[in-house]
């Protein structure tokens, strides 16, 4: 089941904070976050596991809601380089296949 990402697109000014959401109809075991710039490959940002463990970028954080059906990605004090499309990939069970959402386009203005 493909996760639903929101918002679809967001425009911010440099230095502002961004929050991107990834929702599932079922409880998640893990959420993987990637960023893709236009014409380039997706690049790994971080993994959030069911138990709260995080692995990845030190300036980016994520959390689950109480039911673990939604994850939010937090980008603090955004930089111009943060522009791109953000994809979440979700696992329903441990070591399962990852299913990616349709993406959230983030544009940072100077």
């Amino acid at each position: 089941q493909q996760p639903v990402q929101s918002p679809q697109a967001v425009i911010l000014r440099e230095g502002e904070d961004a929050v991107i959401n990834c929702s599932s109809s079922k409880a998640l075991y893990s959420v993987h976050w990637y960023r893709q710039k236009h014409g380039e490959a997706p690049v790994f940002l971080m993994i959030l596991l069911k138990g709260g463990e995080q692995k990845g970028h030190d300036k980016i954080s994520a959390s689950f809601n109480e039911k673990k059906q939604q994850s939010s990605l937090y980008l603090t004090a955004s930089q111009l380089s943060y522009s791109g499309t953000y994809f979440c990939g979700t696992e329903l069970d441990r070591d399962d296949k990852i299913i990616f959402g349709k993406g959230t386009r983030l544009h940072i203005l100077p």
């Binding site: 993987h32 990637y34 997706p42 692995k55 990616f100």
Partner: protein
């Protein structure tokens, strides 16, 4: 550091033609994946492999075949290309299938079927 290398980078085919996309990784990863990316659709898994000699179907496997004869290579084949297969194809690899392992992506192959 090569990482994941895909060839070719671009290709134009006519309907009905066949071709093979090659993915090579030099990180000794066990798992390899093929995705297609269409505008507004995100990344959709076509086939994947959990090790040399193994393959499995993903979300959208129809019209594609794969092989993994060597650990470092994962081939994606289109036997009879159709316009609906026009897409950007990404290969990825991961050390294992464990939940805490990230995927490393190649630069993609842009394929147009006329």
């Amino acid at each position: 550091n090569a990482g994941v290398t895909q060839t070719p980078k671009f290709r134009v085919l006519k309907t009905g033609q066949s071709m093979t996309l090659l993915c090579a990784q030099d990180m000794n990863h066990e798992y390899m994946y093929w995705y297609r990316q269409d505008p507004g659709m995100g990344l959709r898994l076509i086939h994947y492999s959990v090790g040399e000699g193994t393959t499995a179907k993903g979300e959208v496997p129809d019209g594609y075949n794969v092989s993994r004869l060597k650990k470092q290579n994962f081939l994606l084949g289109l036997e009879s290309a159709a316009p609906s297969q026009t897409s950007v194809y990404f290969c990825a690899s991961s050390l294992s299938g464990r939940s805490n392992q990230p995927q490393h992506f190649g630069d993609g192959t842009r394929l147009s079927i006329l």
